[in-house]
């Protein structure tokens, strides 16, 4: 029962893709959309059934054996434990909402077959990553997600900027994927079965340096997919894709998959405290980097993009603090509020005719589009971690996990993470105030019908979850159960959470940070802004922040452009120049030698007779010499 349900959950989106490829061009548009949504709905139902059937236990199932050579084997294996099943349900749920949202959102787009096909295919690959046991199979899903992301970011492929953004995304994530494969090869060379269950069973047998190396490789791989420092340059530009794609792939699922990978393979990471500290540092750095850059953005989607990678940084920090359950809690909650924010932003953008600049939005939107404003508001409250909304509990868990770790390193990380939390609250309220309370408001305000109910209804389930999802893992000191931590602890490889360390203090701290951010935002952008120093929104430093502190330009200047120049150089100078000229030179040399020899053929009889005589004399002398 469990196994059948899990297999169905995995395969149904793939069947949807196959349908779209084979028959998409021949059926009505409605049929294509219905099949796409139905496949995901069925997959979600199957995933829920699997979760219910396999409650708390772990089992594995093999779909089929893929290939083996020598001792190395890859097969389509699934490992069904609480962690993977919860992830599968989450993916199915968010995907379903995004699919339903896409139907009215992408009305009128002629490339709909491609869109729904790739979207379904993406869900298949993401579920493969969630459920896979064998690491090569996981890599299939991993790279497949990269492909679907490329195809969907570049969905409107007539525009050169969009396809460049797609190309950048694919290339940067692939840089991370290289480390994944090296990790697989390393595991195999050490005699460990390259699969999640193999790692859970034999991680302890790895020698110290191998564990460190493997941990760092996995960190690099996760950093690529999750847009962590230094591989973060692709995510803001990935907003060139349609908004539902941004919501699904670049907020809730693919960017979180790096964190999920680390949580799944946590037994290896747990072997070396240095690696954990490293992961925490990368996460914190990204959290700060992203939060600061989000503060300076004007495009609503880019604010959310930088915010995403900042929040994923928090998830990484939780893993670095040794608490993968906290990281998963934040992952789930983040999926809810971030996709909510993206989908709401999509409604705004469409209502305002492709306007992305938050400075061009304003208070009229709040009055005209209340069915978008209120969910958005709830999402912002969750993002900023205002109690008692969901984000407050999950971020609190992360911070308490960090504070529970001894050592100066973790203390520094906790400090930095608190600063990032303050910035998070600040930029989220800035976003809210500028988009919905700003002055001057747009003169042309949209009518409520421009965001029909068919588009906006998906916002409400997510908004309700933003309010209530905190119940998944309410902390013990408030008398509640830490349910999610306990549930995940039954999964092999995810250790139980740390003991509660002065949690009341942390609760107060978190509340303080969130409210401080709200206050600062109100001061800077709220109704009383003219009484306070102006925010330097045009200053050079501000612009640098908006460009992500120049990381993008650095990578273009030091990696992309030199690569292109060297490529041209190698081609023109080396290939055409040196090598080709060497061969033509050799040919020319031979040709000149032969024209030199050609001088002998004068055509004159006297020359020939002379040479005949000379040659004969020589031969006879040599023969006489030999015979004597």
């Amino acid at each position: 029962m469990l196994q059948t349900a899990a297999i169905l959950a995995l395969i149904l989106p793939l069947l949807g893709f196959v349908f779209h490829v084979a028959a998409g061009g021949f059926v009505y548009r409605r049929t294509v959309e219905t099949v796409a949504c139905a496949a995901i709905l069925a997959s979600l139902i199957a995933a829920c059934l699997a979760l219910a059937a396999g409650w708390g236990g772990a089992s594995s199932v093999t779909l089929f054996s893929w290939f083996r050579a020598g001792d190395f084997a890859a097969s389509f294996d699934l490992l069904l434990d609480p962690l993977s099943l919860i992830m599968a349900v989450l993916v199915g749920f968010i995907s379903l909402l995004v699919h339903c949202y896409s139907v009215p959102f992408m009305r009128g787009d002629p490339g709909y077959v491609r869109y729904y096909g790739y979207l379904n295919l993406f869900v298949f690959f993401m579920l493969a990553v969630a459920l896979a046991d064998n690491l090569v199979f996981l890599f299939l899903g991993w790279e497949g997600m990269g492909l679907c992301s490329y195809a969907l970011i570049g969905h409107w492929f007539h525009s050169k900027e969009r396809i460049s953004a797609a190309r950048k995304a694919f290339l940067v994530t692939r840089t991370g994927d290289v480390a994944f494969l090296i990790g697989v090869a390393l595991l195999f060379a050490q005699g460990v079965d390259p699969s999640v269950s193999g790692i859970q069973a034999e991680a302890g047998s790895l020698p110290g340096w191998t564990a460190v190396l493997l941990g760092l490789l996995l960190l690099w791989a996760a950093a690529g997919k999750s847009a962590q420092f230094p591989l973060l340059i692709w995510l803001p530009d990935a907003m060139a894709g349609p908004t539902p794609v941004s919501a699904l792939i670049h907020a809730a699922t693919m960017v979180a998959s790096g964190v999920y990978l680390l949580a799944r393979l946590f037994p290896v990471l747990a072997l070396s405290p240095a690696v954990l500290l490293c992961i925490g540092a990368v996460g914190t750095l990204t959290a700060l980097w992203g939060a600061a850059s989000a503060l300076a953005q004007r495009d609503i989607k880019r604010v959310l993009a930088w915010s995403t990678l900042s929040q994923v940084g928090f998830m990484m920090l939780a893993i670095g603090a040794g608490d993968p359950a906290a990281s998963m809690f934040h992952l789930i909650v983040h999926a809810f509020f971030k996709s909510l924010l993206f989908l709401a932003a999509g409604c705004l953008i469409q209502a305002l005719d492709e306007e992305h600049d938050i400075f061009a939005m304003g208070a009229k939107l709040r009055h005209r589009l209340p069915h978008v404003f209120w969910p958005f508001f709830l999402g912002v409250l969750a993002l900023a971690a205002v109690p008692p909304f969901a984000g407050f509990w999950s971020k609190g868990r992360v911070l308490s996990a960090v504070l529970a770790q001894p050592g100066a390193g973790y203390a520094a990380l906790a400090l930095a993470a608190s600063a990032a939390a303050l910035l998070t609250s600040l930029y989220s309220f800035r976003l809210l105030l500028l988009a919905f309370f700003g002055r001057p408001a747009r003169t042309d305000a949209p009518s409520p019908e421009s965001v029909p109910l068919s588009t906006a209804w998906v916002l409400w389930p997510l908004a309700l979850l933003c309010i209530g999802a905190g119940a998944l893992d309410l902390p013990g000191h408030l008398g509640a159960s830490n349910w999610l931590t306990g549930f995940l602890a039954s999964a092999p490889g995810v250790p139980p959470g740390p003991d509660t360390v002065s949690e009341t203090l942390i609760t107060l701290l978190d509340t303080g940070l969130a409210l401080a951010g709200l206050l600062l935002a109100l001061l800077a952008y709220g109704p009383a802004e003219r009484f306070f120093p102006r925010v330097p929104e045009g200053a050079r430093f501000w612009n640098l922040m908006a460009r992500g502190f120049g990381l993008e330009e650095a990578s273009t200047r030091f990696i992309a452009r030199p690569y292109r120049s060297v490529a041209t150089l190698l081609w023109l100078r080396m290939e055409e120049g040196v090598l080709d000229r060497t061969t033509s030179g050799a040919a020319a040399l031979l040709s000149r030698a032969s024209s030199g020899v050609r001088l002998w053929t004068t055509g004159r009889l006297s020359t020939y007779l002379l040479m005949l005589l000379a040659g004969l004399t020589l031969i006879l002398l040599v023969a006489a010499g030999i015979w004597s």
């Binding site: 050609r598 053929t601 004068t602 055509g603 009889l605 007779l609 002379l610 005589l613």
Partner: protein, 101 residues
């Protein structure tokens, strides 16, 4: 034998060189043929001397053959020269250089 073999060979060599000189240094086709004839006769002298020195008649038989072949070759050669002169009116060897590349 009335003279040592070496003297005969020197005579043959001298005649040969004279014939070679004639063949190489003259431009006229007929003179080249003359030179070839002289070289053939020189080889005949060497063969006769060797035959007498070693008391073997094969050498002298060889000389008779050479004379016959030389006659035939001269006939053919002169026929070609006559034909070439009829075609071009010239008899210099350097004039016929079309076999060059």
């Amino acid at each position: 034998m009335i003279v040592p073999l070496e003297h005969v060979l020197v005579l043959a060599l001298a005649v040969f060189l004279l014939g070679a000189g004639c063949a190489l240094l003259r431009r006229n086709l007929i003179m080249i043929l003359l030179g070839v004839e002289i070289m053939l006769n020189a080889s005949g002298i060497a063969l006769v001397g060797a035959s007498l020195a070693w008391r073997d008649l094969h050498g002298q038989a060889f000389v008779l053959f050479i004379m016959g072949v030389a006659a035939a070759e001269v006939a053919v050669g002169l026929a070609l020269v006559v034909y070439a002169h009829r075609r071009t009116g010239r008899l210099e060897a350097d004039h016929f250089n079309k076999l060059r590349e």
